[in-house]
Amino acid sequence: MKKHHFHFSFTPLGAAVALVLMLGTIPLAGSGPPGTNIKANLPYTPVVTPNGSTLPWKMVDGVKEFHLVVEEIQWEVAPGMVIKAWGYNGQTPGPTIEAIEGDRVRILVTNQLPEPTAVHWHGVILPSGMDGVQGLTQRGIAPGETFAYEFTLRQHGTQMYHSHGDEMTQIGLGTMGFFIIHPKQRERKIDRDFAIFLSEWFVAPGSSRPNPKIMTDFNIFTFNSRAYPGTAPLVARTGERIRIRFANVAQETHPIHLHGHSFKVVATDGGDIPLSAQWPETTVLVAPGQTRDIELIANPGDWALHCHRRHHPMNAMGHDLPNMLGVDQADVQEKIRELLPHYMAMERTGMGGMQAMAGHMAGPENTLPMMAGDGPYGAIQMGGMFTILKVRDHLKAGDGAAWYQPPEGTVAEKVPAGQRLEPTKP
């Protein structure tokens, strides 16, 4: 990690609040705050937010107290691209809030944005005055102010929190996060629980501030505000029950597809779907304002997990470019090179060569090449909403970095010369 990528804007108040919270959590470390090493003490499997984190809390007079600071941050979308986003506690999506049905929670929200905000607890059943809609249920939190929201959790499920003041700007720049309420008792144990927020952005190539006014022509598509190859993989053991929670508060619907598995959609932000009503899927459509939880039993391998809209597992590219597919450019290339010595004709055979080309030809600054990633068999040619579910029979350190070793004879190969079969005639 390059230090300049994570220059969080620590304001004096934010820093003081952070310090108080950190001090406050220490005495409770053994009993409360989640973390993988103490998950034995928790009545639930803690959620892993890839590329993100879980929000710490402390008990204050029997109330779980959380603190969110909303502010402008420098956010790395992937190595090579840092944007000026708005987020909670230095990240977008904000840290995942985890609590248990029946908990009374108090969430302090400090506004370090240049304009008022409010936080809406999306899908949480609560008193109207705690719903966090600026102007409708509360006064906006002015810059520098801290508001307290307090309510008792009467449900469980995958909920969200997001800004509800100047949403177009504030959500457009990244002010959202997961609010996950675990049931007191879960009937079927979950071995691994992942949470992935779906977002899209428009960042003009060569610039660094997302343009919140863009309505349709987005160019950056992210899982937890990271674009491939900046997305962390999901790592699991063969046979484990995996839950993946998807959330969306953006503009577009995202059909999320997982390779190598048949999964079931087990819950929505409205609650659990009864077993009898669940049906098998390989792609789950997540619309803006929705969450979807899927569950699957992990099969060994390296499995692509991505949005199935063709342009979404891809980074910035122009959409009104001339179509050069199948166009012979050899002779013209020489002529153009006399004018533009760095010119290279492309796309005659498709866009796949783009990845190799981008590897040695510079693009605009702070811009990701449209496709990237090198796998064990060559260029992966992906970007955006793409990550890998890595399932291994035996987990060991570094599995996230290693490639799956398939049993012999289970990889597609070139048919040796002389064994070419005649195509079957219809």
Binding site: M324, V327, G363
Partner: protein, 524 residues
């Protein structure tokens, strides 16, 4: 009697000798003009008069024409070879003849008279030789007047030489600029042609409609027809320069240097230029000379008070009388015409010419200021293009290339960026042409080349030719012969942001996990 006749003859002979000696050396005047021109323009003139030196001049012209002509050389060829200029040189011959003429006395008048007696008697014969002696008195003054006029003719010829030099110089720069513009226009055509060919291929591959293809084709053909127009324009400009250089068809194979010289580092200060113009302009010198001439004419006119005096020898013979020999005198009596009108006329002319000189001097100073301000304005434009606009367009092309590399821009947009860059380069060349034409105009206003001036620190002003052509600064990295190697592209990136480095250094086998950041949120 014989004796007396001889005395008279001798006296006339003496007068003849005096008058015929009053001649000017034949090319003395031309040498003076040569010097004047050389100190002002640095160029040499030669008067082709069928002498052996003429050959050398022809060789000199041939040798200059065999290489690419500089502006100075084009001027030199014109000054040696322009037939109109050679015709102007004859003004010196004419003025010189006038000087000779002024030194000649009017021929004496011989009169003979024979009278026959009406009745008986012998014939009466009378002979006289008369010479207007006022002529003799006026001769020195007339000679002075003629030689002042001769001097003026020298200034006028010199001025004509310098005007030709200016015209050659500004025509040269205009042609040079146009040639550069033409080269750029060819590049524009090449860009349009490339776009059109790409469109042809796209259409053949089934990717674009005949409508889109027609648009690209039309753009190409329009660029081409504009090029044709410019090429025709160049032919006319070349012909103009050729004619100024006095070249006929068979010699018309000359070439000029390809690129306009860059700006000199500094311009001479304004005040010095005005004073210099006043002191060195030959048309001013000619005007000043006009007052001299009129002054002389005036003193000559004052002799008008002295009426014509005719002295002569008269001899009269009658048959039966001794011969009579005696002097004759005729004196006009200046009662009516004492020359006052003629004198007043010249006095008016003199005052007129002094006023005209004053007006001309003011005009000259004003011209110097005007052309100097035009020069400075052109310089400012050239510098603005050179230091701001062209680098920005280069940057635009460079960045468009990067956007193209990442499939953020298409090839047509990239070609358009290049065309826009060529457009501003053309505007730069237009400004630079304006600069050099303005400089030629300023030199005409100053009456000589600026290069002979010195800077404030005493070092000589640098002038054109010696400077590096602008291409070497601005166009170098666009040279087509430069191979588009890959490593090359990465090296020429200015101010690469740090992010890019580590993208390029990424190991292919590096797992995605390594990229992700465990977010150090503040409250942990």
């Amino acid at each position: 009697m014989k004796y007396h006749v001889w005395t008279a003859v001798r006296a006339f002979a003496g007068l003849f000798i005096v008058s015929s000696c009053a001649s000017v050396p034949l090319d003395g005047g031309f040498r003076g003009v040569q010097e004047q021109v050389e100190t002002r323009s640095g160029a040499h003139i030669h008067w082709i008069q069928g002498k052996p030196e003429d050959r050398e001049v022809v060789e000199q012209i041939q040798s200059m024409l065999s290489k690419k002509l500089s502006a100075d050389e084009a001027v030199q060829v014109a000054l040696l070879n322009n037939p109109s200029l050679q015709a102007t040189f004859e003004d010196l011959g004419i003025a010189q003849a006038d000087v000779v003429q002024a030194g000649l006395l009017k021929n004496p008048v011989f009169a003979a008279r024979v009278r026959f007696p009406a009745q008986e008697g012998s014939n009466n014969t009378e002979f006289s030789v008369e010479q207007n002696f006022l002529d003799i008195i006026l001769l020195p003054a007339r000679k002075k007047l003629a030689s002042e006029k001769f001097k003026q003719a020298g200034f006028n010829v010199g001025s004509a030489v310098l005007n030709l030099a200016l015209e050659v110089r500004s025509t040269y720069y205009t042609l040079q600029g146009d040639q550069q513009l033409l080269a750029m226009q060819r590049t524009v055509v090449q860009a349009a042609e490339s776009a059109s060919e790409l469109a042809e291929h796209q259409h053949m591959a089934g990717n674009i409609s005949i409508l889109d293809l027609s648009n690209q084709r039309a753009a190409f053909h329009e660029a081409k027809v504009r090029l044709m127009q410019s090429e025709a324009g160049i032919v006319a400009k070349r012909e103009r320069l050729s004619s100024l250089m006095g070249l006929a068809e068979p010699d018309n194979i000359w070439k000029i240097k390809a690129v306009l010289p860059e700006l000199p580092h500094q311009e001479p200060p304004s005040g010095a230029l005005e004073d210099r113009a006043i002191s060195q302009r030959l048309d001013l010198a000619a005007a000043r000379q006009q007052t001299q001439i009129l002054q002389r004419a005036l003193s000559l006119a004052r002799f008008g008070v002295v009426s014509p005096v005719t002295l002569g020898v008269n001899t009269e013979r009658e048959a039966d009388r001794p011969n009579l020999l005696g002097p004759t005198v005729e004196i006009g009596i200046p009662i009516f015409d004492r020359g006052q009108a003629a004198s007043a006329r010249i006095q008016s002319q003199l005052r007129q010419s002094k006023k005209q000189l004053e007006a001309m001097e003011r005009q000259v100073r004003s011209e110097v200021r005007i052309h100097r301000s035009q020069l400075l304005a052109a310089r400012a434009r050239v510098e603005y293009y050179r230091d701001n606009i062209i680098p920005l367009h280069e940057q635009v092309v460079h960045l468009s290339q990067r956007h193209y590399n990442y499939m953020l821009k298409g090839v047509y947009a990239l070609l358009q960026a290049k065309r826009n860059e060529i457009d501003v380069r053309s505007q730069y060349i237009e400004a630079l042409t304006d600069y050099w034409v303005a400089q030629s105009e300023l030199e005409r206003a100053v009456g000589g080349r600026l290069s002979t001036l010195t800077r404030d620190d005493g070092t000589p002003m640098k002038n054109d030719e010696s400077e590096i052509p602008p291409e070497e600064h601005h166009m170098q990295h666009d040279e087509p012969e430069k191979p588009p190697e890959e490593h090359h592209m990465q090296h020429d990136e200015p101010k690469k942001p740090p992010e890019e480095h580590h993208m390029q250094h990424d190991e292919p086998e590096k797992p995605p996990e390594e990229h992700h950041h465990h977010q150090g949120g503040k409250p942990r």
